[in-house]
């Protein structure tokens, strides 16, 4: 019998539910049974409820089994899984799974298919095609291609990427920098982590292209310290890419230069804000800078700096390889291209879905996500991280689109959706939003530093049923001051989860009535 290839992810979400033990057990069992197998540690397919997902490569394609536990591995061998035998955990041909067939994967096209650090795999699956094209193009033409794609910042702000690049390219300087914001601190998001662990060369390729476009020879990736696996994989990917001439003083023999360094964050949420991140990279406290000047004009060490999110930079190789027109044909309105959406929290089928913009919230969490994991009714979803709005099910017809979300008082942010069942208390969630802001505020501006703490106090009185009507007025006033007077999005957007909770779930704030009813 020829050597069969078995795939088990080394994505952190698979490791956290026992992928390491599953691998050890499969190795041991194969040895005992005298079977010759090759284990490949791939990235995750993004079907996280099925992790650890074991896949076997067969002539008809890859057949999957999941979620597996180490204890179940002998039964998998008994069922003849190496020949695709049937087992209660079997999901058939993985590529035919409805979760994957309904997607339009451009950025995540390779993630889960390949061994993340194999450059051969990367090349065999279309990697480096975008860079090869970019090396043949004038810098202005690269920027034009990115502008034409309609790509907007995937970190949450939605600023047109091409315009940011043009600004940096047109600013006179002796050095320019490319900085990747990989400080993915929003709860409910994990797309940056998955792509850095599952397809790290894609980010390297995107950053080299950005460097060619704006004339930068140095880049930094700022990865949060809560992601040690992503950091380790990425550092190794940089080392291999340098040895292969994808990074360094002679990119793919072109004579062009680009050096890349991975830097570790230090547990401060605020460093996901771009100017705080720049200060942190410079070795300072991560406090927010006032804008202007824009980082594209005066950024890292005072030089013109492109600071883009992981998902923006990883969209770039596809845009270069296939053309800006190809990319912008996906999507709706002014939201062009695809968005990696992350279904999280209390959800039956949680994971990553990359689709063109435009699916409704209801289609995402009910049809694709299958409702709650607890089996109870959905009451609220929070979209866009801790600073995003809480949505009631009555707004589930809202299409996933920057403008449609903004029109209804929310934002898509980094594409994370956290589902809550009917046991959630939205007044407590509002309190948490303010408490989180108080913990993570950089302290530079008063509305955020003081407002968040005062907000927690107001919420405590509301939760205790004290003087509720007056306290709610106070909360609304405070929210307005924070929204309009804060220096950055942390203080400016903390009112979003608070006020959306109050607007859509007022009954949870009406503690006086419930206190009276109890008497």
């Amino acid at each position: 019998m020829s050597r069969v290839r078995v795939f088990i992810p080394q994505d952190a979400a698979a490791l956290a539910v026992g992928a390491g033990q599953v691998v050890a057990r499969i190795r041991a069992e194969a040895l005992t049974r005298g079977l010759d197998i090759e284990i490949v540690r791939n990235g995750s397919r993004g079907m996280l409820w099925l992790e650890p997902l074991v896949e076997v490569e067969l002539p008809q394609g890859r057949v999957g089994y999941g979620p597996m536990t180490a204890a179940e591995i002998p039964s998998l061998f008994d069922a003849g899984f190496l020949q695709g035998g049937s087992h209660p955990r079997g999901i058939g041909l993985v590529a035919d799974h409805p979760w994957l067939t309904c997607q339009q994967r451009l950025t995540f096209a390779r993630c889960g298919l390949t061994a993340p650090l194999s450059l051969d795999d990367y090349r065999a699956h279309g990697g480096l095609a975008g860079l090869a094209k970019a090396l043949q193009m004038a810098p202005a033409a690269i920027i034009e291609e990115v502008t034409r794609s309609g790509l907007r910042g995937r970190g949450g702000a939605g600023f047109p990427t091409g315009i940011k690049w043009r600004t940096a390219a047109q600013t006179e300087a002796d050095q320019r920098y490319i900085v990747c914001n990989a400080d993915e601190g929003d709860s409910g998001t994990f797309a940056d982590r998955m792509i850095m662990e599952g397809d790290p060369y894609l980010l390297i390729e995107g950053m080299v292209i950005a460097g060619l476009a704006v004339g930068a020879t140095k880049g930094f990736v700022y990865i949060r310290s809560e992601y040690p696996h992503a950091f380790k994989t990425f550092v190794e990917a940089i080392r291999i890419a340098e040895a292969a001439g994808i990074l360094g003083d002679d990119i793919l023999g072109s004579g062009r230069v680009f050096h890349l360094e991975a830097r570790l964050g230090a547990g401060a949420y605020i460093c996901g804000e771009e100017t705080s991140l720049l200060d942190s990279l410079e070795g300072k406290r991560g406090t927010v800078r006032k804008k202007p000047p824009l980082p594209a004009i005066q950024g890292l060490f005072g030089r013109p700096t492109i600071i883009n999110n992981v998902l923006s930079l990883t969209a770039v190789p596809t845009i270069l390889a296939m053309g800006g027109d190809f990319y912008q044909e996906f999507g709706m309105g002014r939201s062009r291209g695809t968005m990696p959406i992350q279904l999280a929290g209390n959800i039956k089928h949680g994971g990553l879905i990359e689709r063109a913009f435009g699916l409704t919230l209801g289609e995402l969490v009910e049809d694709l996500g299958g409702g709650t994991r607890t089996g109870r009714p959905i009451r609220a979803v929070q979209v866009g991280g801790p600073l995003g709005a809480y949505w009631p099910t009555s707004l589930f017809d809202t299409p996933f689109d920057y403008e449609a979300f903004a029109a209804r008082g929310g934002m898509i942010g980094h594409g994370g959706i956290v589902v809550f069942d009917d046991t959630v208390d939205l007044a407590k969630q509002a309190r948490f939003a303010l408490e989180f802001c108080a913990i993570e505020s950089c302290g530079k501006c008063t509305p955020c530093r003081i407002g968040s703490t005062r907000g927690v106090e107001v919420m405590d009185r509301i939760l205790a049923g004290q003087d509720v009507v007056h306290q709610i007025n106070l909360l609304q006033d405070l929210a307005e001051v924070m929204r309009d007077g804060s220096l950055c999005a942390l203080g400016g957007l903390t009112p979003m989860p608070v006020m959306s909770a109050l607007t859509h779930f007022p009954e949870d704030f009406d503690r006086a009535q419930s206190a009276q009813a109890a008497e």
């Binding site: 709860s187 401060a268 949420y269 990279l281 991560g286 279904l343 209390n346 809550f420």
Partner: protein, 160 residues
């Protein structure tokens, strides 16, 4: 293996060597502080003037950075560190009940170190395991799909 056995005793010469080795980086302070935590388990207050001198910064500058970031602890942690995620996705799956069970089993509250120095319990705001909530990290190892019962395995692990 107990975690603390990895860590070395404070040594001014070693602090200086770490700082000298990394000072050539653009923006070297965070990498230096991370290296000190990796080596000594925390940033000892006696390290601050040494780092300041090597980088030609004021002590206040270095102290300000050390105290800004959650990662740069100034006191040694317990021999084991459990970081339990307290962010929204984990909240939606009952991380409060997981925390209560863990606090009872360990006999300490969130943010505390046990009196015998065995374990520190800390909050973390998101490990990026939001589709497999609630999650935790024990000495760098990830654990997900926790509940009030299976989390007791973590308590047993640090008791062993």
């Amino acid at each position: 293996m107990l975690v603390q056995e990895r860590y070395r005793e404070f040594d001014p010469a070693e602090v200086r060597a770490v700082a000298m080795e990394l000072k050539g980086l653009e923006g070297p302070l965070l990498p230096i502080l991370h290296a000190l935590v990796d080596r000594f388990g925390h940033v000892d207050r006696r390290a601050v003037p040494i780092v300041a001198e090597v980088l030609n910064l004021s002590r206040a500058d270095v102290h300000g950075v050390v105290t800004f970031y959650h990662d740069f602890r100034q006191e040694p942690a317990g021999r084991h560190v459990i970081k339990l995620c307290q962010a929204e996705a984990c909240q939606s799956m009952g991380s409060d009940r997981v925390l209560a069970a863990l606090e009872t089993a360990l006999g300490i509250r969130m943010g505390e170190t046990s009196p015998d120095g065995r374990v520190t319990l800390e909050p973390v705001y998101c490990l990026g395991l939001c589709a497999s909530a609630p999650s935790a990290m024990l000495d760098g190892e990830l654990h997900a799909r926790l509940d009030p019962v299976n989390v007791l395995a973590l308590a047993q692990e640090v008791a062993a």
